[in-house]
Structure formats: structure tokens, C-alpha cells
């Protein structure tokens, strides 16, 4: 192992203390979380009456936020598994970012679903009295499984890095050194250890793909198995999965841009990474656009009974401005801009990715809420307020708290661990050199012969 290269990598990638900006960022996130927690305490005391959810709008922004978190978490399987198994070596620096996002998102997906329950202690009832026939039970099972796999997939590639930080990080505080010692599992780089680790990561990378597809498919079934206009679709599983991959890729791009800018990682997140991720985002956006056309065009062509009121409100009615903003800025504009090479440069790509993420959040709102406002059985003799849903300030604050919480988890994680896997990057650099040498030698041999 080349010491100078390792030294450079260590210098560039080892975790650093927060600067002034970092401290302000963490402070702001903490403040939002505390306010969100205070609003949640109020909700616990007064019940779900503090929300705008009523008999018809039984799901509001908590659930749309939950679907958003589940969607974004799928990026872990996209980058760490699908790209890794397809030997897309360029994606190596992105794996940790993807897994960090996946773990933080799925963690807060679980938290927000408990927030939505109103009485958190009743979650136990789901385990004690849950029916295996219920998609909600399937969702709990698959989310907890995905969380465990994602944590393992985040942790296992950290082991060699933790050993490196254990051996070289003498300037870290003692608790941090102790943490690296525990997490490194006595890693010394023995061939047996390397083999065990690689085999385990490979197995996990395969295992996470069906579970990742499962998590979002089952989440889509929560809707598809409920008899409501807009949800009564056999298309929902792939529609949700496609949307999830799209927003997940956008999240990685946004994170990659910010880490590159604030941690000065231009050497690791290169223009090539942005270009490739941009292309990937175009492809995923096109797939999602295709599903959107299927999901809205054919029902709108038929305009059958119960569906027509919902579609009217989405296409021309009160939800139309939001619906078309999401479709245009969250899907069509990204496809157009990213088709051009200039559009795949870091700043434009970051802006587009941010639009995709914002669009994706509101898209989940459009999937969850309007469908509940137009049930198949007409709403008669009910208070006017039950017919509409607009979140209360408590719902906004709690939701903002959960989003800030997920960002806080990521921020604290990069404070303690390298954003880019150090040992893996070094090994790949050396492999690339070896391969280049082999190519050169074979070319020389050809010339000689």
C-alpha cells in the first residue's frame, strides 16, 4: 500500500470538526428539531385533533412525508447494490453518501409513521395483535428489515476506515478513538478478514435489492389495496419504485454537490460523477414520466365515475397549480435540462436535483391527500371542514422537524466518518494502476511481436 497516497487520502477524507458554517447549520437543524418535538408533545397531549386530519382525510402530510422518506431511502440499493454489482466502479465515492441518506431516511420514515399514529404506545398492538393479512403489517416488517440491512451496508464498508482512523487518528478525542476501536472489530487487513468482509458485503448487496423493491412496493400497496379513486391501480408498485429511484438519485447528487463544495472534495466528486449521475437521473426521470402518463392519461381518457372528480381537481381544479408545477418542474424540466451536457455540470445539476426533490415531496402529497377528498361514496351531511385538508401549523412543524432530523443524522455522521470510503478508494486507485500497467505491458508485447 502506497503510504503517500494513503496519506493524501487520509488528509482529504478523514472526518473534520465543523467550521463556523457547519456549527450554524447543525444549530439551525437542532432548533427545528426541538420546535418539532415541542409540537409533537402538544399533539401527544391533545391528540390528533391538533392536526387537520378528519374522518375523510385520514392521511395528511405525515403520510406523504413518510412515503417521501421511504422513496428517498431506496437510493441505498441503487448506488450500493445495483451500480456496485454491475461493476460501475465510478460510483464507489458515492456509496457512503447513498447509504447515509438511506439509513437517515428510513429511520425517520419509521419515526413519522409513529407520529401519525397519535398514540405511539399503540404501535405495540400492531406487533401483538397485527394480522398477517394486513399490508400495514407487511410494511412494518419490510421497513424494519430494510433498516437493518441498510445499517449493515453502511457499517460494513466502514470497518477498514474505522481501523485506519483507530491507527492514525491520535488527535481525535478519546471517546472517538474508543468508538473507532470498537467499530473496527480488530480489523488488521488480514486476507481472511478481507475475504469475509467482501463476501458479506456482496451478499448484502444482493439481499438489499429485493427488499428495497419490496419496501416501496408494499408502501404502494397500502394505497392500492384501499378502495379510493386514484389509488385503485395495478400500476402502483412499479410507479412508486420508479419515483423512488428518481428522487433518491437526485438526493445523492444534491448531497454530492454540497459535500464537494463545503469539504473541498473536487478531486473525488469529479465532473465525470456529475455527468454520469445526471444521465442516470434523466433515465430515471423518463421512466417515472412514463409511469405518470400511464397513471393519469388513461384514467383521464375514460373519466369513469368516481375517478373523474379527482382528476378534474388535479388537472383543472384546486390542485391543478400544484399538480402541473410538480409535473413540469419536477419531471419535464429536469429531463430537458439534463439532456444537455452543460445541464449536467455541478451547479445546474444541483439546482435541477433540488427541484426534483421538492417536486417529489409535493408529488407524494398529491398522491396521498386529493384521493381522500373524493371518496367513491359521496360525503353527505358532514362538516365543511371535513371535505378539505390543509395541514395545521403543528403538522408543518413536526414534518419540518423530521426532515431536519434526517439532515442532522447525516451531518453528524459525516462529522464522525469519512464521506468517501478511504480504503476502498485507495484499493480501486491501485487496481486501476495495475490494470493500466497490464494494458501497457500487453500493448508493448504486441508491438514487440
Amino acid at each position: 500500500m502506497s503510504n503517500s497516497k494513503l496519506g493524501q487520502l487520509y488528509k482529504d477524507l478523514a472526518p473534520r470538526k465543523f467550521g463556523k458554517l457547519g456549527k450554524i447549520w447543525v444549530g439551525v437543524l437542532l432548533a427545528i428539531c426541538v420546535v418539532g418535538l415541542a409540537a409533537y408533545v402538544k399533539q401527544l397531549k391533545q391528540g390528533l385533533a391538533v392536526t387537520a386530519m378528519r374522518d375523510y382525510a385520514i392521511w395528511g402530510i405525515y403520510i406523504s412525508n413518510f412515503v417521501f422518506f421511504v422513496a428517498i431511502s431506496l437510493v441505498g440499493s441503487l448506488i450500493s447494490a445495483i451500480l456496485k454489482l454491475s461493476k460501475a466502479r465510478w460510483s464507489t465515492p458515492l456509496t457512503r453518501i447513498a447509504e447515509m441518506i438511506a439509513v437517515a431516511a428510513i429511520l425517520f420514515a419509521g419515526i413519522i409513521i409513529i407520529v401519525d399514529m397519535g398514540r405511539p404506545e399503540r404501535f405495540l398492538n400492531l406487533i401483538i395483535h397485527g394480522r398477517l393479512q394486513s399490508p400495514i403489517v407487511w410494511d412494518v416488517l419490510v421497513i424494519s428489515t430494510y433498516l437493518v440491512i441498510s445499517i449493515l451496508l453502511l457499517y460494513m464498508p466502514i470497518i477498514p476506515d474505522a481501523a485506519l482512523l483507530r491507527d492514525h487518528g491520535k488527535n481525535f478525542p478519546k471517546w472517538q478513538q474508543k468508538m473507532y476501536r470498537i467499530l473496527s472489530l480488530g480489523w488488521t487487513g488480514l486476507p481472511e478478514q478481507v475475504q469475509l468482509l467482501q463476501k458479506s458485503i456482496f451478499t448484502l448487496a444482493i439481499l438489499i435489492i429485493p427488499v428495497a423493491f419490496g419496501i416501496h412496493t408494499v408502501t404502494s400497496w397500502l394505497f392500492a389495496s384501499t378502495y379510493r379513486p386514484g389509488w385503485d391501480s395495478t400500476n402502483f408498485g412499479p410507479y412508486f419504485v420508479a419515483g423512488a429511484f428518481m428522487v433518491g438519485a437526485a438526493a445523492v447528487i444534491a448531497a454530492m454537490f454540497l459535500f464537494r463544495k463545503f469539504y473541498r472534495l473536487e478531486q473525488y466528486f469529479t465532473l465525470k460523477h456529475f455527468d454520469y449521475m445526471g444521465k442516470l437521473l434523466v433515465m430515471l426521470s423518463l421512466v417515472y414520466l412514463y409511469f405518470n402518463i400511464n397513471e393519469y392519461f388513461i384514467p383521464a381518457y375514460k373519466m369513469k365515475g368516481g375517478e373523474s372528480e379527482l382528476l378534474d381537481s388535479l388537472l383543472y381544479g384546486s390542485y391543478a397549480p400544484l399538480f402541473w408545477s410538480v409535473q413540469v418542474f419536477g419531471m419535464i424540466v429536469p429531463v430537458i435540462v439534463l439532456l444537455f451536457k452543460k445541464g449536467r455540470r455541478p451547479l445546474p445539476l444541483f439546482i435541477i436535483s433540488t427541484l426534483v426533490i421538492i417536486g417529489a415531496w409535493f408529488k407524494r402529497f398529491l398522491i396521498v391527500v386529493p384521493a381522500l377528498a373524493f371518496p367513491y361514496i359521496p360525503m353527505n351531511r358532514v362538516p365543511e371542514s371535513w371535505k378539505h385538508y390543509f395541514p395545521t401549523w403543528e403538522e408543518w412543524v413536526i414534518t419540518a422537524g423530521s426532515l431536519a432530523g434526517a439532515l442532522l443524522v447525516i451531518s453528524l455522521f459525516v462529522r464522525l466518518f469519512p464521506i468517501v470510503p478511504i480504503v476502498e478508494t485507495l484499493e480501486e486507485q491501485e487496481e486501476e494502476i495495475e490494470e493500466a500497467k497490464k494494458i501497457l505491458m500487453s500493448q508493448e508485447m504486441e508491438i514487440k511481436s
Binding site: G130, L132, I149
Partner: protein, 310 residues
């Protein structure tokens, strides 16, 4: 300079688009709120409820006209008063709930009046409301006695109700012709018993009903029997509730229920149990296997390749 300008423009464009998202999101709410500027007319329906053995209460239901039909309104403050010779006594203020109902229990002050005054006038008002014009509804209620007894002789079961009211001296006088109906409490509502025509009390103020023997109860044969005074504006809505072991015991054997997707948890279809459990076993088995591998990595630190401890 040019680059800075382009950057600034890009940032402005980005935030403008974000603004479009949020503005369009708020649109629906803004449209809804614009409608509630003028003061509207409201209707109040005032009702007196007396469940024997419990404190009586008043319900004021508020409705307003929305697109040709009357709909209930939530969050309207209703002031309740009791009128007497000396003027009005405030009973309290309550907000209407999601069903448009403001409920007030008639508390201790009212209970002391019950023994001396046999007729009460209640008022429910909407006063100085931001959304609704002032509105007032009065209700006069006379005290009464509504007593249910359950009698059982051999296999004959009878529900008997006595209905009477105090005269000016306080002596109870039976009321003839009052309409009474018996019910049985079921899971979601009351099941009316008897024919379509309502039975009335006789000249001695009694109503008798032969209770059927074939009504399913719980596993202990228990039934909740309810009798109600019907269509009587003078005495309010009065009901009496009692429990008796008059039902046919219903004992469900969960094992006899078919295995269906809509059955209870213990009757989940076998194929579903097999699929879900084998998937869980496969995935969690692999996870546990990987955790064991992690233990092996740790073990490799302390042993050399021949298994000897370092």
C-alpha cells in the same frame, strides 16, 4: 462579471420556481378561506337528554346553509342559560364539535332545582360571533319519571316501563299515551324491537313488552336493553339502560372460521403464512449469517491462522 450575473440569474430562477411550488400548494387553502368573510345565518337545534341514573344534558346542534343544503359547523361557541322568574342563569359556554354539537352537562346547580321546580326553560345562543349572526333557541322541559324494570316469570320475559310526571304539589301522576320503544344495543347502533307502530303507555302510565327469546347475546348471554321515550317534545329525550342475561349465548370457535384474507389474525390463509414466513426466514437468516461473519472478523484479530490465541 458575466459569470456572476449568470449565477445570480440562475439562483433567482431557482428560488422563483421553488416559490411556484409553495404558492401553488397554498392555492387550495386560499380559495377555501376567501369564502368566510360575510356573517352567515345559523340554525340552532336544542335538545334535552336524560339517561336515567345519569346527569341530564343539553345538546345544541348548529347548522348553516352551504350550497342549498344545511351543514353542521364546528368550533362555534354556544352560551347556555336557564330561565326562571328572576331572569336567566348562565349554565356555561361550549364549543360545537366536529359534528356541530355543543354539549353541556346540567350540573349540581340544576340538580338542586329539580326537587322544587318541575318545569325548566333553557336557552342556547350564538352571541357576537365573527362568522355567524346572533341566534337564540329556547326549549321548555317538564320533569318526569321514567322507570324501567325487567321481569322474568318462568320463560316469559317482560320489559316494563312506568312513565309519569309530578303535578304542582310534586305528586307523580301517570301519563297515558306516551310513546315508548324498546331496543337492544348492538355493535354499532340500537336495534329496535317490536312492530312498526309505536306502543303507548296505558292509563296507569305503564308500557309492557314481551321480550323475545331468540336475540343473540354475548358468550355470557348478556344483552343491553334500552327503552326510549319517543316523539315527546315536552319531556325531552329520555332513555333507560339495563343489562340482563336474556340473550342466546354466542360462542364463536375461532378454529371454525374459514381461513380468509379478511379473517382474524389466527385464521390467516396458510399460503400467506407460508410465503411471508419463509421470506422472513430467508432474509433474516441471511442477516444473522452476516452478523456471524462480523463476529468471525473480530475473532480473526485475536487468533492467528492456526487458531492459537495471540
Amino acid at each position: 462579471m458575466k459569470n456572476t450575473l449568470i449565477k445570480t440569474l440562475k439562483h433567482h430562477l431557482f428560488w422563483s420556481i421553488c416559490l411556484v411550488f409553495f404558492a401553488s400548494f397554498s392555492w387550495n387553502n386560499v380559495v377555501g378561506q376567501n369564502q368566510a368573510v360575510k356573517k352567515k345565518k345559523a340554525r340552532i337545534q336544542l335538545e334535552y337528554f336524560n339517561v336515567v341514573g345519569k346527569r341530564p344534558y343539553l345538546n345544541a346542534t348548529v347548522k348553516t346553509k352551504v350550497q342549498r343544503s344545511y351543514q353542521t359547523v364546528e368550533g362555534v361557541p354556544i352560551d347556555f342559560y336557564l330561565l326562571d322568574e328572576n331572569g336567566k342563569t348562565e349554565l356555561g359556554q361550549r364549543l360545537t364539535n366536529e359534528k356541530g354539537v355543543a354539549k353541556i352537562d346540567l350540573g349540581k346547580n340544576f340538580a338542586s332545582l329539580e326537587d322544587t321546580i318541575f318545569s325548566h326553560r333553557f336557552v342556547a345562543t350564538i352571541e357576537n360571533n365573527r362568522k355567524f349572526k346572533n341566534k337564540k333557541r329556547e326549549l321548555e322541559i317538564r320533569e318526569s319519571v321514567f322507570k324501567m324494570t325487567l321481569e322474568e316469570h318462568d320463560s316469559a320475559k317482560t320489559v316494563q316501563v312506568f312513565f309519569g310526571a309530578p303535578d304542582s304539589t310534586g305528586q307523580i301522576i301517570p301519563i297515558e299515551g306516551a310513546r315508548v320503544r324498546p331496543y337492544v344495543q348492538r355493535l354499532f347502533s340500537l336495534l329496535p324491537l317490536g312492530g312498526d307502530e309505536l306502543e303507548t303507555t296505558d292509563s296507569e302510565g305503564y308500557f309492557r313488552f314481551e321480550f323475545p327469546n331468540d336475540i343473540p347475546g354475548n358468550d355470557k348471554s348478556e344483552l343491553t336493553i334500552v327503552t326510549k321515550l319517543e316523539e315527546d317534545d315536552l319531556h325531552g329525550k329520555i332513555m333507560s339502560v339495563k343489562t340482563a342475561t336474556w340473550g342466546v349465548p354466542v360462542i364463536t370457535n375461532p378454529a371454525s372460521v374459514k381461513r380468509e384474507l379478511w379473517s382474524a389474525r389466527m385464521n390467516a390463509p396458510i399460503y400467506l403464512q407460508v410465503i411471508v414466513n419463509s421470506m422472513l426466514l430467508g432474509i433474516w437468516g441471511t442477516i444473522i449469517y452476516i452478523i456471524m461473519q462480523l463476529k468471525k472478523i473480530k475473532k480473526n484479530e485475536t487468533e492467528d491462522r492456526f487458531g492459537a490465541k495471540k
